[in-house]
């Protein structure tokens, strides 16, 4: 029986940068458990010899030729940015989260 704990939901919310209140956590954790349960019922339908599927269509090798196509101008690219400086996206300082 799949179950997701309150701590796991809290951790996932943290990773996804979603700020959840205690009340929300209390509410969402059991809901997610129900969702996982429902999804898990697929396992009953799928026999062991059926490989997990990630794509709905049986397609492979959909490629694009290596040819340049016009994109956005810098103005267009930056038009939705809350802040712009030196033709760059200005973002809040990054602390301890270096990739």
């Amino acid at each position: 029986m799949p179950e997701i704990t309150r701590q796991e939901v809290e951790h996932l919310a943290d990773l996804a940068r979603i700020d959840l209140s205690d009340a929300e956590l209390d509410q969402i954790a059991p809901q997610l458990s129900v969702i996982l349960e429902s999804v898990a019922s697929i396992k009953e339908a799928a026999a062991d010899d059926i490989a997990p599927t990630s794509h709905a269509l049986p397609l492979t090798n959909v490629f694009r030729e290596d040819v340049v196509v016009p994109g956005l101008t810098a103005e267009q690219a930056l038009s939705g940015a809350p802040e712009v400086d030196q033709q760059r996206f200005s973002v809040p300082r990054i602390l301890g989260e270096e990739a």
Binding site: E65, D66, A74
Partner: protein, 503 residues
């Protein structure tokens, strides 16, 4: 705060190093990995973007066929298996260098896996070279990130910055990440093997023509994982990952530094913190980045917007057929053809002159003459100018022509150096310089005879010795004639004329 280090020798007495090297290669495709934006270096900020590489809602990625081909060629050149079927995956993290909030990469299904690169290093015996096999775990496809400028900090570093400015021109440029298996048993050669691996991997990439392969511009980047285990234990200790290692020399230095730093901590009974560290080019140390943490929970999952890549075996074999002669094999073949000793070959390669020597020989010079000019004269001049010998501005065809003039007896080695002076000063072709500077050797008996007579007259005692049969003394008279003729006399003919007159 500086780290305590154990000496390199003592660290080896007590511990065995294990390394893992991750090399990112930026491909030189025309376009990015998943969109048609140009993948070129150095454009004005944010002028090479589109909704896909900016991660705007609704944008759909499409895989660059050329990038897949380059990835497979790299894999094949590294003796890897090519996956029959593999997928892209999302690596989820929040960091503004990736506007999508995930990097499209490959997770447990890399395009290439289980290969090796045989790395040549100077032999432990001190003579010739030996081979060390570095096993390749995988090579996978992913995309590069944007570039951040950190503003407000003291040194442009992330620590203490107020905010960051991001340019997404680089975001989405195709990257191939090549990961080794743990490199064990390298012992005191560890720093050298790490450097040789990156250097020879770079050569391979150059031979394949799939990347600009410029470490200084970041088109090849290395991360060095290192751990120590008690000597002889055969185990693996806790590792650190050192990033920002952007030159071959730094690869060697970073391995050495981390070995000594780990050894000092372990020797005092401490334990290594598993963390990311940053190499400091100027001070030659590594600085702590951040510990591995929850943020490394990337929650990979198969990329739903891209269908799997399933290269047919025909395609794989077709690409295998396009592989160039590998650098190591080529070196072995050329050494044999040229009759170079191991030392001569190593010096040639070490001076970055292999291609130049090859082209000079191709243009007609003998292997020894080509080597002589590039490794003595040209290497010295390049060194004086502080440039690579390849960037000196002298073409292999020019060197071959100068040698041809020497072989024809029209100039000698000394005059040849003046021709090279002229070439570097942009005075034209070797023939033009010889003519303009009046460098051609005089072998005309009239002019030479007069100079010989003058020399005999000026050095009667030497002349007497030669008359007495001391032929070796002729050298002094030849010198006098050469001086008189400003070095432009045919020394062989001068000798004949002296001996004719004094016998």
């Amino acid at each position: 705060m500086s780290d305590t280090l154990l000496s390199f020798e003592e660290s080896l007495e007590k511990f065995d190093p294990a390394m893992g090297l991750e090399v990112h290669v930026e491909l030189n495709t025309n376009t990015k990995m998943f969109c048609g934006c140009p993948a070129v270096f150095g454009g004005e900020p944010n002028t090479q973007t589109c909704p896909t590489c900016l991660g705007l809602p609704g944008a759909m990625p499409a895989v660059n066929a050329k990038a897949v081909e380059s990835a497979m060629r790299i894999g094949l050149a590294l003796n890897c298996e090519i996956a029959e079927w593999c997928r892209f995956a999302r690596k989820n993290y929040f960091y503004p260098d990736m506007p999508k909030n995930f990097q499209t990469s490959q997770y447990d299904e890399p395009i290439a896996f289980d290969g090796y690169l045989d790395v040549e290093i100077p032999a432990r015996s001190g003579e010739g070279t030996e081979t060390f096999r570095v096993d390749i775990e995988r090579a996978h496809m992913e995309e590069d990130t944007g570039k951040s400028l950190h503003v407000g900090g003291a040194t442009g570093r992330i620590q203490g910055a107020d905010h960051s400015l991001v340019d997404y021109n680089r975001a989405g440029i195709p990257l191939i990440e090549i990961v080794t298996k743990p490199i064990m048993g390298s012992r005191e050669k560890a720093p050298e093997i790490a450097k040789a691996y990156v250097a020879q991997l770079r050569e391979l990439i150059v031979a394949l023509g799939v990347s600009d392969a410029r470490m200084d511009q970041g088109s090849i980047r290395a991360d060095v994982n290192l751990s120590l285990a008690p000597a002889g234990s055969g185990g693996l200790g806790t590792r650190t990952e050192t990033k920002n290692v952007n030159s071959l020399r730094s690869v060697e230095r970073a391995v050495r530094y981390e070995m000594q730093r780990h050894a000092a901590i372990l020797d005092e009974g401490g334990s290594i913190l598993q963390e990311t560290r940053h190499w400091q080019e100027d001070s030659g140390v590594t600085l702590s980045g951040r510990p591995k943490s929850d943020a490394d929970d990337y929650r990979y999952f198969p990329e739903p917007d891209l269908v799997p890549v399933a290269p047919s075996r025909e395609w794989v074999e077709e690409l295998r057929g396009t592989l160039p002669e590998l650098p190591r094999e080529k070196r072995a073949r050329l050494q044999k053809e040229w009759g170079f000793s191991d030392l001569e070959m190593r010096d040639t390669v070490g001076a970055g002159a292999l291609g130049l020597v090859e082209e000079t020989i191709g243009a007609g010079a003998s292997p020894q003459a080509a080597r002589k000019w590039w490794l003595s004269d040209m290497a010295r001049r390049a060194n004086e100018k502080g440039v690579d010998v390849a960037d000196l501005g002298v073409a292999p065809t020019d060197v071959a022509r100068v040698q041809e003039l020497v072989d024809e007896g029209r100039i000698n080695d000394k005059l040849a150096r003046q021709v090279f002076d002229g070439l570097l000063a942009g005075e034209g072709t070797p023939d033009e310089i010889v003519a303009a500077r009046g460098l051609e050797i005089v072998s005309d008996d009239g002019a030479l005879g007069a100079a010989v007579d003058k020399a005999i007259e000026a050095n009667p005692d030497v002349a007497d010795k030669i008359r007495d049969g001391k032929v070796a003394a002729a050298g002094a008279l030849i010198g006098a004639v050469m001086k008189e003729m400003r070095g432009q006399a045919d020394a062989g003919r001068v000798r004949e004329l002296i001996l004719e007159r004094l016998s």
